[in-house]
């Protein structure tokens, strides 16, 4: 174990391995960094931290460390960097066990040797398996495959009291005992540290194509979505992209991006049938079986642009009203961009403008309970985070979530107040 601590409350021991700017979280420099190489070592670090009441933040690839409330101080940054192995790929059983610190893209490169993959996407190259579970972050293929929690069949956790435990197992069907993998999904490292996880996998599709349909207005787009919903077509992804700003021509404002995965012969039939439902949209289809030229850029483009990033949910049939809300925000001076899962009713809204504008849009989203729920600010500067609680209300779940937190993390050491619990 590389242990760069001198003690839970002291400065880093080794001057040549101090925490750097890259280690800061919302401007807070961790007092120590630990890089355990096994589950037992992770558990030992947590046990020690509990004993000394030292706050611990778990870091995977570090791609989402800006998400969450600003910490007041961080005792130990526990990096899963050295827990980066694909432990087992049981390809005949379509399952794989992966350590928490393994990068999603590198894991998938290995799984591809047997024509399989773990359909978890991220906008960030550095994103790890543990980070994907902790944030339950997902991409457009959620439409078909769900979020990480839906693919998870077993998990190994290190608890703050130093115990190393498991839940679930290696088989795709299993209802023995509590599903702690679900509990940990979305917990943002607030309940336990993820050591490794077992997933069900899916075969790589024999063929896939992406169709992009550009609409002149939102009505054309929602009509096309309704037509798609009435059809028996089964896209693997059904994403909506809306950008409204003074520099965006209205003809370019609304897009549907659809992915189809199928057999080579059937794929063309799906594309033709879909094209017929897109009304007057300008439609392009690209074969992306061999190489993804659309989806990674699609995912990254939103994060590459400036502004706060707000995650929210809505009823799928309310999409037209979501866009109307965006129109109002644009009129008031915000540059707004939506990338979402049209059929799930979930997405990211990027809001740019001056501080007052950003705060106003967030407040209004939270006030519009008839339209939005679960409005969470993912990326924001210190100026915004000082003014709003990034998580918002957990609603009725808050009490139980707090009780579970107290049960598993008695000393309250995990995540330095950054998480939802």
């Amino acid at each position: 174990m590389i242990d760069r601590r001198s003690g839970p409350s002291g400065p880093p021991e080794s001057p040549d391995t101090p925490a750097t700017v890259a280690d800061t979280i919302d401007g807070v420099v961790p007092r120590a960094i630990v890089e355990p190489a096994s589950g037992e070592e992770v558990a030992a670090v947590l046990a020690e931290a509990s004993r000394t009441k030292t706050t611990v933040v778990v870091r995977g690839g570090g791609s989402k460390m800006g998400w969450g409330r600003p910490p007041s101080s961080i005792g130990v940054l526990l990096s899963t960097k050295r827990l980066d192995r694909l432990v087992a790929h049981e390809h005949h059983d379509l399952t794989a066990t992966v350590q928490a610190g393994a990068r999603i893209d590198l894991v998938n490169a290995q799984l591809a040797h047997h024509g399989q993959w773990l359909p978890i996407e991220s906008a960030f190259d550095a994103a790890t398996i543990g980070g994907a579970i902790a944030t339950n972050d997902s991409g457009p293929l959620r439409h078909r495959y769900g979020t990480p929690r839906d693919l998870l069949i077993g998990i190994r956790l290190a608890l703050p009291d130093g115990r190393l435990i498991k839940s679930g197992g290696n088989v795709v069907k299993n209802v023995a005992g509590y599903d702690l993998g679900k509990l940990i999904s979305g917990s943002f490292g607030s309940l336990a540290a993820i050591v490794s996880a077992t997933f069900k996998l899916v075969p790589l599709p024999a063929a896939s194509s992406t169709m992009t349909a550009r609409f002149d207005d939102v009505n054309g787009m929602t009509r096309a979505l309704e037509a798609l919903g009435r059809s028996q077509l089964e896209p693997a992804a059904c994403d909506v992209h809306v950008r409204l700003g003074n520099d965006v021509p209205s003809r370019e404002s609304c897009r549907l991006v659809l992915k189809f995965e199928s057999t080579p012969k059937a794929l063309n039939a799906h594309l033709e049938a879909t094209r017929a439902l897109m009304g007057g949209a300008r439609v392009e289809a690209v074969d992306d079986t061999a190489r993804d030229t659309i989806w990674r850029p699609h995912l990254r483009s939103l994060w590459a642009a400036p502004g706060v990033m707000v995650k929210a949910g809505w009823l799928p049939a309310s999409l037209g009203r979501v866009v109307a809300f965006m129109e109002e925000a644009r009129i008031e001076g915000a540059d707004v961009e939506l990338q979402g899962r049209a059929v799930v009713g979930s997405g990211l809204l990027r809001v740019d403008g001056d501080l007052a504008t950003k705060l106003r849009v967030i407040d209004r989203m939270r006030a519009r309970t008839d339209l939005f729920r679960h409005v969470v600010v993912l990326r924001a500067g210190a100026d915004v985070k000082q003014k709003v609680d990034v998580w918002g209300s957990l609603g009725d779940a808050a009490g139980v979530a707090a009780a579970v937190k107290r049960a598993l993390d008695e000393q309250g050491i995990l995540n330095a107040g950054r998480g939802p619990v």
Binding site: K173, V175, A397
Partner: protein, 486 residues
């Protein structure tokens, strides 16, 4: 924990005041002594039949105030004793919370009370071209509340997943009487996935009073075939080859000769004579299904099918499924009693585990039928015995336990869809360490510090004197001639 007393009963009658809402007479309690695993039975002190979430909440509050244990019950079709009453405790029967509250086709959501049956959801949305995907064999009678408690699957869960993949939110009463909503019709509630934890927690964390599910568009095309084989390993090889070809069928089922014999006697599906039968179903867009189905048919023949029968129409398909779904109920034609197990193994371990089961069958002298969800390795060994022959009940239980051990040895699980309940709680330490179980208990106590919400289930406790795990026994209603199994 305490037991029901007169004061408690008086208060309970104040909450549920209409005639027939509070049952205390032994004859009335008979139905509620057990669920679909009748050898485990216990008379509760009282059964209450609330008609609203508010009444459920008031009842649970009362139990909490008096520290009286309670067990929520759906339609009693569970197969693990999950709804087994507690002596001196309360059964909260949710059969009267059976309203479909909202059918929202544009958003593909349906909101129901827990006593609505699984199949009723599909009935509600079928005219619009939709269905509810989880399809346990008991779907005509089982309640959606029970499905949530057990995280029910079904034959089609290989492709479509379990209840946890189809429930968007619940309203539930916590053991302290708080009424909470966990998640909602709108996706992405932040924080730990408490809903995912609750689903499959076997009624030990809360009593669900409302369930929001998502519905799916009926697939454009469904194609089903039946292939007959001389050996179960050949049928298993066909399954492996289908999956290796990158095809995920909607369902893959295998039945062995004993189960074929039973269903032929009972429901006459006209299966061809065979050692084993494989049923494969594909669904999805027509063009895709057509192409993949040709490949499935080719694989089935290639590995040595003696017959391949492709369902030519919906009636033919229904006949094949009638044979499969009627397997448990048909066992009565070949054995006076049977005990069904629910272990899971990694699919690649199926031949090895099935061979061990066949060895065990030869050694123990009891016939063992095998019906299983081959795609996901979920075995349903049916251990045949005659309770009138001294020692056979105990032997069947022992054999069941040994099969579960084979599943654990193979890296599998003691239960794929029936739940641990009271039946398999004693096997949990074979799968989980003390620390694993203790941490699960910590979570349980966070919900239920008093330990009054369905105690004695999931986690091991010492068995009652003379209590034997496992086999089928006649339900008290069957014994009394008041009901029959189907």
């Amino acid at each position: 924990m305490k037991t029901v007393d007169d004061r408690f009963l008086a208060e309970l009658r104040g909450i549920c005041a209409r005639p027939g809402e509070v049952l205390t007479e032994p004859i009335e309690l008979l139905t509620y002594e057990c669920d679909g695993l009748p050898h485990l039975h216990q008379r509760p002190a009282v059964v209450v039949l609330p008609s609203s979430a508010e009444q459920v909440q008031a009842v649970v509050r009362l139990c909490h105030r008096h520290q009286v244990p309670f067990v929520a019950r759906g339609h009693g079709s569970g197969l693990s004793g999950g709804a087994l009453p507690i002596a001196g405790g309360v059964v909260i029967a949710l059969a009267r919370l059976n309203r479909v509250l909202e059918v929202d086709i544009p958003n593909r959501r349906v909101t129901v009370e827990p006593g609505v049956t699984n199949l009723e959801i599909t009935r509600q949305v079928a005219p619009h071209g939709f269905y509810y995907a989880p399809d346990p064999s008991s779907q005509q009678v089982c309640s959606i509340g029970g499905n949530v408690a057990e995280n029910s699957g079904g034959a089609h869960c290989l492709k479509y997943g379990f209840t946890v993949h189809h429930v968007l939110g619940v309203e539930a009463v916590l053991p302290n009487g708080d009424l909470v909503r966990l998640d909602s019709a709108i996706a992405d509630a932040p924080g730990p996935d408490l809903l995912g934890l609750l689903i499959g927690s076997e009624g030990t964390l809360a009593v669900v009073t409302k369930v929001i599910v998502k519905i799916l568009r009926r697939p454009e095309s469904v194609q089903t075939l039946l292939a007959a084989y001389d050996s179960i390993s050949a049928a298993g090889k066909a399954v492996s080859d289908i999956i290796a070809a990158g095809i995920i069928p909607a369902a893959v089922e295998i039945m062995d000769s004993l189960s074929i014999e039973a269903v032929e006697a009972a429901v006459h599906p006209n299966f061809p004579p065979a050692d084993s039968i494989l049923i494969v179903e594909l669904d999805g867009p027509t063009a895709e299904v057509r192409e993949q189905f040709e490949e499935v048919e080719r694989i089935c023949r290639h590995v040595g099918a003696t017959t391949v029968e492709v369902a030519q129409d919906e009636a033919h398909r229904a006949r094949i499924w009638k044979g499969r779904k009627g397997a448990f109920a048909s066992m009565g034609r070949v054995t006076p009693n049977y005990y069904v197990q629910d272990g899971v193994v990694p699919r690649t371990k199926l031949p090895e585990v099935l061979a061990r089961i066949r060895d065990l069958e030869a050694r123990c002298g009891l016939r063992i039928g095998n019906v299983f969800h081959a795609g996901d390795g979920n075995l349903h060994p049916l251990i045949c015995y005659d309770e009138k022959i001294p020692g056979q009940s105990d032997l069947a239980a022992k054999v069941g336990g040994e099969i579960l051990q084979y599943c654990i040895d193979a890296g599998g699980s003691i239960t794929g869809e029936h739940g641990v309940g009271a039946d398999k709680a004693e096997y949990m330490p074979r799968m989980f360490s003390d620390d694993d179980l203790d941490v699960m208990q910590l979570v349980r106590r966070a919900f239920d510090p008093q330990g009054i919400c369905n105690p004695g289930k999931v986690f091991p406790t010492p068995r009652l004197c003379g209590e034997v795990p496992g086999p089928y026994h006649a339900h008290p209603l069957e014994q009394a001639g008041l009901g029959e199994r189907f």
